[in-house]
Symmetry: none
Subunit: 216 residues, 4 copies
Amino acid sequence: MMLPVTAPRSLKEKQRQEREELILQAAEEVLAEKGYYETSIDEIAARVGIAKGTVYLHFPGKEDLVIAILERNAQAIVELVEATVAIAQSNREKLEAILRFVYGGFFDPGKRHLMQLPYIVMNSAELRRVFVEKKGCMRVKWDRLEALVASILEDGKAAGEFDKTMPTPVMISTFFSLLSPRSFERLIASNQMPVSDYVKHLGRFYFKGIAAIQGE
Amino acid sequence: MMLPVTAPRSLKEKQRQEREELILQAAEEVLAEKGYYETSIDEIAARVGIAKGTVYLHFPGKEDLVIAILERNAQAIVELVEATVAIAQSNREKLEAILRFVYGGFFDPGKRHLMQLPYIVMNSAELRRVFVEKKGCMRVKWDRLEALVASILEDGKAAGEFDKTMPTPVMISTFFSLLSPRSFERLIASNQMPVSDYVKHLGRFYFKGIAAIQGE
Amino acid sequence: MMLPVTAPRSLKEKQRQEREELILQAAEEVLAEKGYYETSIDEIAARVGIAKGTVYLHFPGKEDLVIAILERNAQAIVELVEATVAIAQSNREKLEAILRFVYGGFFDPGKRHLMQLPYIVMNSAELRRVFVEKKGCMRVKWDRLEALVASILEDGKAAGEFDKTMPTPVMISTFFSLLSPRSFERLIASNQMPVSDYVKHLGRFYFKGIAAIQGE
Amino acid sequence: MMLPVTAPRSLKEKQRQEREELILQAAEEVLAEKGYYETSIDEIAARVGIAKGTVYLHFPGKEDLVIAILERNAQAIVELVEATVAIAQSNREKLEAILRFVYGGFFDPGKRHLMQLPYIVMNSAELRRVFVEKKGCMRVKWDRLEALVASILEDGKAAGEFDKTMPTPVMISTFFSLLSPRSFERLIASNQMPVSDYVKHLGRFYFKGIAAIQGE
DNA sequence: TATGAATGAGCGTTCATTCAT
DNA sequence: TATGAATGAACGCTCATTCAT
């Protein structure tokens, strides 16, 4: 009774958030390693060093835990991309920066989960059904990213850099297609090329592909 | 005695194959709808209108059933693609034909499963582990497809049509990236563009991207 | 229509009995190898080279098939034992003949199934429940064997050879205990002794044990 | 903080052990009643009044549950036999004590499972395959028992009490043969004799059988 | 609040038995 | 009559979720 008023509550709250962070990290880790269906709440709890029930004090269920991760990652990615883009000068540099950022993310072991999970979910039919269609989650965040790319492309078109005859949605679609981690995996699997070279080729290819047609 | 020789055996065999075909179709359907883990043998059997045990008369287990579907589809796709390519004249036309074929497949409701399932499996980390890595299945088929594309690209390079400074693996990688059903899905979701137009844009984009550099 | 009267029927009947014999032999074989629960009708049919359904034309079910085997074996054993005993002269020789016969049976690969199956069933709680208690089968046959031994023992007692103070049921019980194949298995497992020597020791031991007390 | 140190842990642990004990008892019961293959985890759980899954919190699988029972019983039997033997004076008294102990066990409804289960497993070909051969379990315990009997018999031979011309393995084999519950069951089935009398006869029979030959 | 024992629906799989051919 | 495809009840086992402590 007589609950201590704010300080302890915020202390508790802080501890709670720290705990939640640990759960999210562990879950992200297992998820990236084993995939959704092979991941058990038990293993997540074990990695954090807490009891299974405690996970349910923070997240109502397995799905919600995964959603939280996805939204957090989407949020982080979008913000990082926005920051990355903000620094770049030209439209082309902006898109190249995104390419570099994404592929750098796959390359950097510390950021890999961040980039991989959204792809795992978006590319798995069963998970998309659960997390994208059934829940409306992540929509908003990804839309922001798409809008960002769209605005860069529109700017480029307005500046006469990019091909005005190619609809922006097609440009967006091709751009995001190139970001697939599948091709990256093939690269590291066959060890054929450093990431930076691959990204350079990708950039050259993309900008040649969308370049404004001369004499237009 | 005097057993009727071929007719009854082939009749039985025919019925057996028909049944198997029904199971494969139902399984393909559920698989495309729900994904591997959400698909139960019970539901497959129910859709065919047979008992659960009957499925096991045709396939030793769930994995094997899925493998059968995947191999069948991979086989069919590869053969259709090869046939498609055989008709085309120039290297560019060959690759465009593949693009059209694949996107036409996504568009044609009758061929959708055919095209979707390999993507479902190849893009899901958990399923790749089971079906591509653990079993060696499908490897061979997909390699044939990749080799086909590679040979077209090499021919184009030799003919001075395609950019010799871009490594063939990168060209292959970008080409297959463009075939992702994800972008197609976005299209039909937003209903923005007929498939044929989208494919036309894709082709233009890709060939501009890989075109030989003038003056080279 | 117009069924041919007797000859063909008896031909059919003969074939039928031959078939049944083959099924019984195969079943006995698998049963001895794998035990009741690990034996499947499928395997029995496969060994005979007939269809599963055909087994059910001869025996109403798995249990009944096993019962048929057991009764046949019991019948055969009892008859062989009776024949064996008939030849022997003295009471001691009769019992020794039985010992030799039983252990010889375990030893002779051709007779092993014959001897083993009854033991498997009588010594397995689950099978006894099914085959001895639930069905009343085999009771009669084994009782005849017991009666035979009992009469030999009684004769021996009357002749002053065997200990009159030991109740015949106890003598019977100990006698049958010594016939357990378990001890034989241990022998062949450790390869310590030829069967004939073991049986000789067993006989000496048993007759010393039941010998009439001197001065009585 | 200030976690109560040992009490709660030991309380939990105690409850856990009690639960486990209940499962073991129920499993032992069903096992003795129905045998291994007719015993289902469902029924064990139902008898304890718990859910099926709970059984798996205590034992990784059906086999392991049975092994636990067998080892527990073997352990208990061996220890009780050793204690029984320790009290007895002469070699003959020691073996008689074992006989009395074993048959007393069969007679005492509370100890019946204890004695029966090892026999069920050792005498069923299919179970021996699973539990004795595949797993190495119980081997050690039973060897200790055999060694105990062997040493008593050797002592007796050395003391001139037992027949030196009969190999100890044969003596051991006959001794264990007499301990079979089969004969006891026949007794209680026919209600012919009190257990103590039966054991007395058995003892007299056995020691006459192995007695040193006079004048030797 | 944190725990982790308990739950029970659900899965993949087996196999004795049936029955249309 | 012989077949073997079809059946479906039953099994061992898993794991997301709940709740008494």
